[in-house]
Symmetry: C2
Subunit: 316 residues, 2 copies
Amino acid sequence: MTTTLPVFDTGAIETAATSRMVLDTVRDALIAHAEGRTSVPPPLHMDFPQANGDCHVKAGWITDTADFTVKIATGFYGRPGSGMPSHHHGLVCVISADTGQIQAVLNDRGLLTAWRTAAAGALVTHAMARPTALTLGLFGTGEQALLQAVWLAELRPISQILVHGRNPHNAAALCEELHKNGLPARPASARQAAGSDMIITTTPATAPVLDAADVREGTHVTGIGTDMPHKNELPPELFHRAQLIATDDHTQCLHHGDFGHAVRAGATAQDSDIAAGLLLKTPPDRPDTAITVADLTGVGALDAALASAVLDHLTR
Amino acid sequence: MTTTLPVFDTGAIETAATSRMVLDTVRDALIAHAEGRTSVPPPLHMDFPQANGDCHVKAGWITDTADFTVKIATGFYGRPGSGMPSHHHGLVCVISADTGQIQAVLNDRGLLTAWRTAAAGALVTHAMARPTALTLGLFGTGEQALLQAVWLAELRPISQILVHGRNPHNAAALCEELHKNGLPARPASARQAAGSDMIITTTPATAPVLDAADVREGTHVTGIGTDMPHKNELPPELFHRAQLIATDDHTQCLHHGDFGHAVRAGATAQDSDIAAGLLLKTPPDRPDTAITVADLTGVGALDAALASAVLDHLTR
């Protein structure tokens, strides 16, 4: 009668998932989202001002699949001056879309979100960059910057990675991590990094991290850090110069992505974007001199797809 | 590093909780809510039309306490004619309001919601009914009807329970359950049940279940079944006759409670209600001939209080 709910920790999740499985799953989910085969309700949000914390609950479902997910993520950043470190916690509940039964809890501490974000960035960057693009400029020095580069390198060769971070120690540390993964990398100025063939920005910036004038013709730029209205990584002028703009979710990117900043600045039209998932299905026909931009704000249906795939591996 | 998240099933939860503990916790939480010491964000909602199902996610926090909760509840009612039975599932995540750490999952399958709903109904009914009220009219024959009566009987003597249900078999079955709990009960017509000293309605009705003219002076009525705008248990005329109206949450009851129906019908003023929690702190000074009404739509902060209290017992 009261069977215990299966709970899987990060160790089990890491064992069950391969980068290939994550990439394939996220690819299919982005296509499903672009084709309107997903259901993503408005998220639930709570603030904890006394501890500088917040809690987001996001749900998602790919409408022709067996399970949906409810994901809880908390970020607590400590009171200024309290010396309290930042905390991030999270779990994903996998729930049957046929019976409502809760199948399992993936106590992933945000791992699946990091994976699907990195996979989406790598997939879209690979699909939109010209085939001859070889160098990568990375803005930001966190876990996402590392994952994006490593997974993009699974999809195409990278000859050089230029890492730009505000903190030189963090940039050097990321380069060391990239070396461990067999990738050539060195710290660079924002201008140098912006001169790469491919650019991925993974920062929590609230003002553009690069100058559009430093971006050369033929470059592809993917922004993944802007997930709230007050954040902004990519300058509106970059969207103005772009010949192809992709968004993972039009409404979301208009509301709180870099695309929205560019539209509100009058740099591009509100209907100038196409769904990133469509480019994964049919690669774009892009001139070698075109600048292309992808704005990825994160789609809840990807959580559902990835959590279901991981759970399948864990319980098969 | 990857400690397993504690999960507690209904068996453990039932062992940890006593009706006294639930009543005390819910009483304090209703008072906290009335005094503005709670945080309850708009819920997340998802529909699954292909299986006639839905999923609600509700969060709540009593702002001077250590934990908040995120509650997931699903109701899947089967396709009409599919012969598939209804399913209800649910769990409660207890999360630290200081660090965001997920402390435990209470895999309660909706038990805590049933308890806090019953406790709120019993507490408010007891506080608002005149001291000499002895008979109880119960509308509805489900688990909530049973719990409401049993817990009200813990707070004050009940000389007779008249049970009204649309299905006579269900009404008889509930009377048998009430007998097992030492309570005198018998099936009755709506008119008979409406003539009781105290009335509690626990139905999913979409039209009033009783005639206001059948309610005598000095009666207290508590409605707990109306939790969506299209539902309606209590007639507007009852609110018009009432000298005291209480709501567990003014905004919520206005939006999707019986109180809202009465206001929109012009039967009572939009500001005619007082917070139920205040009546638990300071019992109302009510004439013996007054009709009093409580509209309870369910407050998310009660989940937080009850789940925390249960978890304390489970882990202390």
